[in-house]
């Protein structure tokens, strides 16, 4: 700081030594805890060379796992989206009794271990579950099949988009919507042309995080999946399968794919924050 060059230090800042120590601690901690594991994934994935890497990724079971993961995300994310928008509309635009209760209930999946999230669906749809006999009588497979995986993923990712939109929409208030209504717009028109443009970057951000979580869910899915290679293994489960097969390079190759997805998510998120910071009022509201 200019004043420091003259030997003066602002009363509300620390000595340079303190500052740089803290910065070093912070950077070293982040490197050790966050960056190193990430780097490790990529180094291990490519440790046997590029051809082995691509061979691992084009393995039949890995490709099937990719398909299943995409399918699960393609269904879970829109469901979370519709729910999130509806819940955010109800909570942000209206005053009603029980609003805190609703918000707390929405946050519930965050406090539930993913393993429990899978377990509850086994209790509902498994062979000895509430609906088990009915399902097997009608030859409908939920547990040990894709539908079970999708349901468990929806449970885990349920609050993501809602939690992103609620503070944002609350901050933005309802004056614009009220103005639109009083000018004669219908509810749907108001939503489409007034609300949506205001929340679109928050929405995109929420969708990104939701998608990353949906594709990466492990605990809940491992409980409901039959671990059938080529059928009910998602990418994270495939990582474990390859690991158990002693195929570490393969496991890390698949892991690197998901790590890449995480990096892309972070990059887009940073871009959004950089350019649209004011429209992401609650971006740090995790």
């Amino acid at each position: 700081m200019a004043s420091e060059r003259n030997g003066w230090r602002s009363a509300t800042s620390e000595a340079p030594a303190v500052r740089w120590t803290l910065i070093t601690i912070a950077v070293l901690f982040m490197l050790l805890v966050l960056v190193l594991p990430l780097a490790n994934v990529f180094v291990e994935a490519f440790s046997k060379g590029l051809p082995a890497y691509f061979r691992a990724l084009s393995d039949r079971y890995t490709l099937a796992a990719m398909q299943l993961t995409l399918l699960v995300a393609a269904i879970a994310v829109p469901v979370d989206l519709v729910f999130g928008v509806a819940a955010a509309w109800a909570i942000a635009k209206f005053e009603f009794k029980g609003k805190t209760l609703l918000t707390t209930l929405i946050d519930l999946p965050f406090s539930v271990s993913p393993v429990i999230a899978g377990l509850v669906y086994v209790l509902l749809f498994g062979a000895q579950g509430w609906f088990g006999p009915w399902l097997s009588a009608h030859n409908i497979k939920i547990i040990f099949a894709a539908p079970g995986i999708i349901l468990a993923t929806i449970f885990v990712t349920f609050p993501f988009i809602a939690r992103e939109l609620i503070p944002l929409m609350q901050d933005q208030g309802s004056t614009e919507e009220e103005a639109a209504i009083s000018l004669g717009a219908s509810g749907w028109q108001t939503f489409r042309r007034v609300t949506l443009p205001n929340i679109r970057w928050g929405l995109l951000y929420g969708v990104l995080l939701c998608n990353a979580r949906a594709m990466g869910e492990f605990g809940a899915v491992s409980v409901v999946s039959g671990l059938i290679r080529g059928k009910t293994n998602t990418l994270p489960l495939q990582i474990q399968a390859l690991y158990d097969d002693y195929n570490l390079t393969g496991a890390f190759a698949v892991a690197s794919l998901l790590a890449l997805l995480a990096l892309v998510t972070l990059a887009v998120k940073t871009l959004l924050e950089w350019r649209y910071a004011d429209q992401l009022a609650a971006r740090r509201g995790h």
Binding site: A64, Q67, L68, L70, L71, A73, A74, I75, V77, P78, L81, G126, A127, Q128, S136, N139, K141, I143, F144, A146, R192, R193, L196, P197, R200, L203, L204, V207, G226, L227, I228, R229, G230, K231, D244, D245, Y246
Partner: protein, 342 residues
């Protein structure tokens, strides 16, 4: 608006792709699901490829085979709970008996294929650290002070039950059939076990990769595989003087193949295990083939050490039905004696 519409459209497109790939055709009889136990991953990887080639040459059809692996007991329960297996290739006959009891296949399943539906056998050996630093040579050494034994959970794993029974057989011999002393030995043995993985592969990883324990009670084939994987400079195989002949049987799940229309394919798949190619592949993966005479490479057969083996039908055991109920059932001997080491 545009963003949301685009996202939804993308989702729909992906869903279509996904659905196209995941949903099997209704009357798909060129597909099999083989639900197997934990140690057979590598074997069936090779075998499935060989069978696919064979079937292609024989009938011109392309068959896809999916595999699921896990502890034998858990896999059996999964099949009962709706896992859509066409064939089960499990580690112990009583697990398949359980599936039969649930009505998914005939109670006489063991007669449907030669050799009691057991195309290959194995046994239980010790995998130790290189140089055998703790000097483990027999089952008696497992309960010495400071020895940590790795073995899976008998409730979920077939290997665990075979290992348990091998130890039981040794104790019967050592203590002249004194039931009290035998049970005391087994109790002591499991006090030396720090962790029970759910399947044999989990135990091998715990021992070989995580470096926990001094000795692994392992399938013979799994021990050789560990040496192949981690290096002969890491481990030694110690063959106890007396062990048990482990019979991992295979069978078709009648109810499911009837629903899928894959009965003929499933039967052919299992019968191929008895062919020269099938038996040679088994030997190559360190399984003892039921018909060693069919294996052309004699060195594979010679590599198997000669061990004195008891079988499950030995008088001390009396067959799987008796053993499963008495030893491993709810409230059975294992439940009574198992107190994990604190």
């Amino acid at each position: 608006m545009r963003t949301t519409t685009r996202l939804l459209a993308l989702g729909a497109v992906l869903a279509t792709f996904g659905l196209g790939g995941i949903t099997p055709a209704a009357a798909d009889n060129q597909h099999l699901l083989n639900v197997s136990y934990d140690a057979t991953r590598e074997f069936y990887q090779d075998y499935d490829q060989a069978f696919t080639d064979y079937w292609q040459k024989k009938t011109g059809n392309t068959v896809t085979i999916d595999q699921s692996h896990g502890g034998s007991g858990s896999q059996a329960q999964a099949v009962i709970s709706g896992l859509d297996a066409d064939v089960v290739t499990l580690a112990v006959a009583s697990d398949i008996d359980a599936v039969a009891k649930a009505g998914l296949l005939s109670q006489d399943w063991q007669k449907s294929l030669p050799d009691g539906s057991t195309p290959y056998t194995s046994t239980i050996v010790f995998l130790v650290r290189k140089g055998n630093p703790k000097g483990i040579h027999d089952f008696g050494d497992l309960v010495r002070d400071g020895v940590q034994v790795i073995t899976p959970n008998p409730k979920t794993s077939g290997a665990a039950r075979w290992g348990y029974l091998a130890a039981w057989a040794w104790a019967e011999q050592k203590y002249g059939g004194d039931r009290q002393k035998v049970e005391a030995y087994i109790r002591a043995l499991y006090q030396h076990v720090p962790v029970l993985d759910t399947g044999s592969r989990g135990s091998t990883i715990t021992f070989a990769q995580k470096g926990i324990g001094d000795v692994l009670l392992s399938w013979e084939n799994e021990a050789y595989l560990a040496i192949d994987q981690f290096g002969a400079d890491q481990f030694d195989i110690v063959v106890p003087p007396l062990s048990i002949r482990a019979d991992p049987p295979v069978t078709v799940v009648d109810k499911n193949v009837a629903a899928h229309g894959s009965a003929a394919l499933a039967r052919a798949y299992l019968q191929y295990l008895y062919s020269p190619e099938g038996q040679t592949l088994a030997a190559r993966h360190h399984y003892r083939p039921a018909h060693p005479e069919l294996v052309t490479d004699r060195s594979l057969i010679a590599a198997f050490p000669k061990i004195k083996l008891v079988t499950i039908d030995d008088p001390i055991f009396g067959g799987w039905a008796k053993v499963q109920a008495e030893q491993f059932g709810d409230g059975g001997i294992f439940d009574q004696i198992y107190k994990p080491a604190n």
